[in-house]
Every structure is written in C-alpha cells, then in structure tokens.
C-alpha cells in the first residue's frame, strides 16, 4: 500500500524541522534508515546517528530529538530504555515518536515494547516500502490523530486538571467514537478510581477487555483494583493472563509467584520456575521468591504424599538458592518434619564453607543429628551451641525434647523459659513441647 501524495507531503512537512536520533550498532543500518528518512523529507543536518546506547543517551540529552529510531538490541543495552530518557526530556509527548527498528523478532521484546507504549516496531530485514510506510503512518497518527484519540487526550487533560466529572463524560463520549474503545474504557476506569467508585472502575476495565482481551492497560488496571481489594484469586487469574501475553517483565514474575502461593496454585509454580530459568537479569528479590515458592510447593507435595515431586522441587530450590542459607534451612526443616531426615543431610552439604559456623548451619546439623545420635551426645552438642551463642529456636526445640528423654525435666523447663523470653511470639509452642512430653509420660 503506497501513501497518498497528501500523506507524503504532510509527513515531509512534519519531519523537515524535526531532530531525529538513530541508534543502531550497525553502520549500514544507521545509514540505510537515514537515507530513507532523507528521501521522505528529513534534513541531513537534523539527523543524529549513534552507534551505541551510551552515545545515544548523551545525544538525547544534548539535542532532545522528537523522533528516536532505535534498535532493540544495542550491544549490552536495550534500546527501549532510551524511551524513558526521551519522555523525560520531551514534555510534549504527543508529537514525539519512538520507533524500534530491529532484528529482534522475539515475542518478549515485542510485548515489552507494547507495554511501554512504543509507537511502532519494525523488524529487519525490512523492505524500503515497509520501513517508510510504517514510519509515515505512525507519524501521521500523531500529527493527525483520529477524533477518538483527540477526545481521549482531552479527557486526560481534564483528569490532570482534576475535572473528574467532565473527564468521565469525555471518555464516555470517546467510547462512541471507535468500534474497539478499550483505551477509552481504561481511562474511564481511571477516572472512576479517582472518584473512589471501585466497582464502576472494575466494570470499565472489564468492558475494555471485552472489546480487546489483551488490552494491556485494562489488564493492569483490573489487576490493581483486585489487589487493592485483596481479591487474590481473581487477581491471580488476571496476572496469569498478563504474564502469558506480556512475558518479558521479570518483576511481574515475583508478583505472580506470590499470588500463586497465596491462592495455593502450586501446580503453576513449576511453570513459573521454567520462565525464571530463561530470564537473564534476576534480582535478589526474584531469586528469593522463586526459591520460597519452590519450597512451599515442595511442602505441599509432601503433604499430598508425592515425595518424589517434592524432592525434585527441593532440588531446584537448592540449586537456584546458590548457597542462600535460609532456603536450605527451610528445605531441611520440611524434610525433617516429614520424617525424611536421611534426605536432609544432602542439603546441609550445600551450605557454603564460610557459612558452616552460622546459626542456620549448626542448628540444622543438630536437628538432623537428632534422629541418629545418642541422647547424651545431642544434649552436649546443644549445650555447646548455646554456650557459643548459637541461640536458634531449633536448638532450643531439640534440647527441650532430648532433655526430657534424658529425664532432665528441670533443665527442659529452664530452656522453655529462656526460649519463651527470646521469642515471646512462640512461647506457647515451647511450652507445648513440655506439656506434650508430660502428657505422653502420664498417658
């Protein structure tokens, strides 16, 4: 499809006075895109060609170009990140353009770009016709937006000016202007949230999704409302959909995992683990969440008598934990709880050497030994730990049990008192250890 003469002239007029930054590691690509733009009316003197992310960022700050054309993959950096810089520098976002021209055809890159509201995404290799038409159409949509978008922008301004009731009327009007008014539904929902009409806001987002099942803003809007209302099951359904269509956001994985556990959707955790293994940049929080989720899942399967599945998940958690002692501790505690102390020893060996004098390691060592070592030796070991200031609840727990086995009831009671002082929130638990034993002895 060729542009009309009128369209071509309109674009030429638009681009003629615009600074255009082209960021691409390939000189051929930079030159090629630049040539095409010049043929469409851009001035050579207005073109800023950058071969790396760092140079592009510097030039962005220096020139504040209204048009940025970037490759998604800029060596070690992501070209998409330049969008934030452009937005910060260009307050008049309505006429600014951000276009990706890239060899990256992956869905995760495409979805991430759509999330960030990139103007258009052109894949290489392109034909000159596709490149020019795509850039032209995108620009014209900005220069000469349809009435629907003009009305939404008017509504957004009213929202910003705190004219909420007027904004609501404007968005309702916009909804009549397009056969697929998901965006208007989203902003209507936002206006309803400001009016604290959560139910109506939810209705708007749902309506937007009826027109368009994967409208990102409506999905996120709906999710936020459901989370605010602690409707975790419903929120989980929504975030699952978001994670499916827009998989690239690693932070979302943390949220999904948290909700999977809250809603006891244990079957899903392994799927999220597989997604996690494909993510390049993982922060501490994400690792913590995935490990915790795998352990909780493993515990669930132990409860369901699916031992082999549980052990598989514990293995994954331990590998992912890479020596994080809290995770290893939780695995050991779960295994001992379910009478699998013989399996727990393996996880003790995963503690890094430098942590083997830590409270986590030593208390777990004592716990594992409880099943195999003679009472006297265990008590000596436990006492030694306390003497060396290893005050861990598990140490007290084992000692209280074993002291009673050795008929050292007074000592056990002293330990209950000490533990209750250290951990008042668990005082009943420690007292219960005494009572249980007493009940057993008298029963």
């Amino acid at each position: 499809m060729q542009p009309t003469d009128k369209q071509a002239k309109l674009f030429a007029k638009y681009i003629s006075d615009k600074k255009v930054l082209i960021a691409d590691a390939s000189s051929t690509s930079r030159g090629n895109i630049a040539n095409n733009l010049v043929k469409m009316g851009a001035k050579t003197s207005n073109l800023i060609l950058c071969q790396s992310y760092e140079i592009a960022e510097e030039e962005l700050k220096r020139h504040s170009p209204q048009v940025v054309i970037a490759d998604y993959d800029l060596e070690r950096r992501c070209g998409l990140d330049l969008l934030q810089t452009q937005r910060a520098l260009n307050k008049d976002a309505k006429s600014a353009l951000f276009i990706l021209v890239t060899g990256n055809t992956s869905q995760s890159a495409v979805a991430k770009s759509a999330e960030e509201d990139v103007d258009t995404y052109i894949i290489k290799p392109f034909t000159a016709e596709v490149l020019r038409l795509s850039i032209l159409k995108t620009a014209l949509a900005k220069i000469n937006p349809p009435e629907y978008i003009v009305t939404i922008e008017k509504g957004k301004e009213q929202l910003e000016g705190k004219q909420i009731d007027q904004a609501i009327k404007t968005f309702e009007e916009a909804m009549t202007m397009d056969s697929n008014p998901s965006l208007a539904c989203f902003y209507l929902g936002q206006a309803k949230i400001i009016k604290k009409a959560a139910e109506q806001a939810e209705g708007s987002f749902h309506r937007g999704l009826q027109y368009n099942k994967i409208h990102y803003k409506c999905l996120v809007g709906l999710f936020d409302i459901l989370m605010d209302q602690r409707r975790h099951k419903d929120a989980y359904e929504v975030i699952r959909k978001i994670a499916h269509y827009f998989p690239a956001n690693p932070q979302r994985l943390t949220t999904v995992l948290r909700l999977a556990i809250i809603t006891q959707s244990y079957e899903d955790v392994e799927r999220y683990y597989r997604i996690f293994t494909t993510i390049d940049t993982r922060n501490e929080e994400m690792v913590k969440y995935i490990c915790a989720a795998l352990v909780v899942c493993g515990k669930y399967y132990l409860q369901q008598n699916s031992q082999s599945r549980a052990l598989e998940l514990f293995q994954k958690a331990a590998i992912t934990a890479s020596g994080r002692t809290r995770i290893l501790r939780e695995i050991i505690l779960a295994l001992v709880e379910f009478d699998l102390s013989h399996k727990a020893g393996e996880y003790l060996t995963r503690f890094p050497a430098e942590t083997q004098k830590s409270s986590d390691y030593l208390s777990m060592d004592l716990l594992i030994k409880e099943k195999v070592e003679p009472v006297g030796r265990l008590i000596d070991y436990g006492r030694e730990l306390l003497k060396n200031d290893i005050h861990d609840p598990v140490v007290y727990e084992v000692l209280i049990r074993k002291s009673q086995d050795a008929k050292l009831v007074d000592y056990a009671e002293t330990l209950v008192g000490q533990a209750g002082k250290r951990w008042p929130e668990r005082a009943n638990f420690f007292s219960g250890l005494m009572r249980n034993k007493s009940a057993t002895a008298t029963g």
């Binding site: 390939s26 071969q51 060899g103 869905q107 759509a114 697929n180 965006l183 994967i214 959909k241 827009f246």
Partner: protein
C-alpha cells in the same frame, strides 16, 4: 489442529492472539566470495538489513567482497513457526561500501540465479511476522 490453552486461559483467550505462536526468526547467513574463495559462516557475522526486489543489503565483516564480485549466499532460517528454510543463490555485488570505523562492509547484492518461490517464502515469513507484530501492538495498546 487446536491447541490446549495453558492453565488460567480459555480457548477464547487464545482465539485472538496466542503468543506461543510467535517464535523468533533465527537467520544464519553463509557467504562465499567466488573470486577469492573466502567464506564467512560464523553465526551473526552477517546481518541482513533490507530486502530488495531481487536481492538484499547486508552488513558483513570488512573487505569480504568488492563491487562486481560474485558471491554464493545461503540463508538458513529457523523459527517463525515454520519448518526450517534454506535459500541459496549466486549474487552480484552491485555496491560495496566500507565503514573504516566499524571494520565492516555494506554490500548490496543482486541475485543472479535463485529459486523465486523460495525467495518469496523468505520474504513472506518476515512480512507475516511484521503483520503479527502490528496486530499485537494494536490489540495491546488499543489503537
């Protein structure tokens, strides 16, 4: 053939767009200069920038070919939701421009002998992916 939807999604959800249908298109180019017999076959050494009517513009490591040279070019394409595709052709270097800073050449290649149908398949694959992306963008952004 219908696909079972993943947990939490319904068949209806997949009707519009199923992102698992979108596979990256992996392209590997092998180029041999018929005059010098030098070959470039390392992955990602050659980048295809633009499709021409009966040829392509590529970026290759420096001094691989000069204007007028004949080269044998092989495209090996995987992904994109189709069976792996191999396209081969002899091509003439119509233009060769060297970028001294990047140590790479821009080469405009015109196919001399090629399987037209296969070439069309290659172009259609990328064009189809571009259309999918545009549809997805429209659905995700709402306009």
């Amino acid at each position: 053939m219908s696909k079972a939807p993943p947990p939490g999604l319904t068949k209806e959800d997949l009707e519009l767009i199923d992102p698992t249908d979108f596979q990256s298109i992996e392209t590997h180019i092998v180029l041999t200069n018929q005059a010098t017999k030098s070959t470039i076959s390392e992955k990602n050494a050659i980048k295809v920038i633009e499709f021409l009517e009966e040829g392509i513009i590529i970026e290759a490591p420096g001094k691989v070919a000069a204007r007028g040279h004949l080269v044998a070019i092989q495209f090996i394409i995987a992904g994109g939701g189709v069976d792996p595709l191999t396209f081969e052709s002899t091509a003439k270097v119509e233009e060769a421009k060297t970028n001294e800073l990047d140590h790479c050449d821009r080469l405009d290649l015109r196919f001399m002998q090629h399987d037209y149908e296969k070439w069309k398949k290659v172009q259609d694959l990328f064009s189809s992916r571009q259309n999918q992306i545009e549809e997805f963008f429209k659905a995700a952004k709402g306009w």
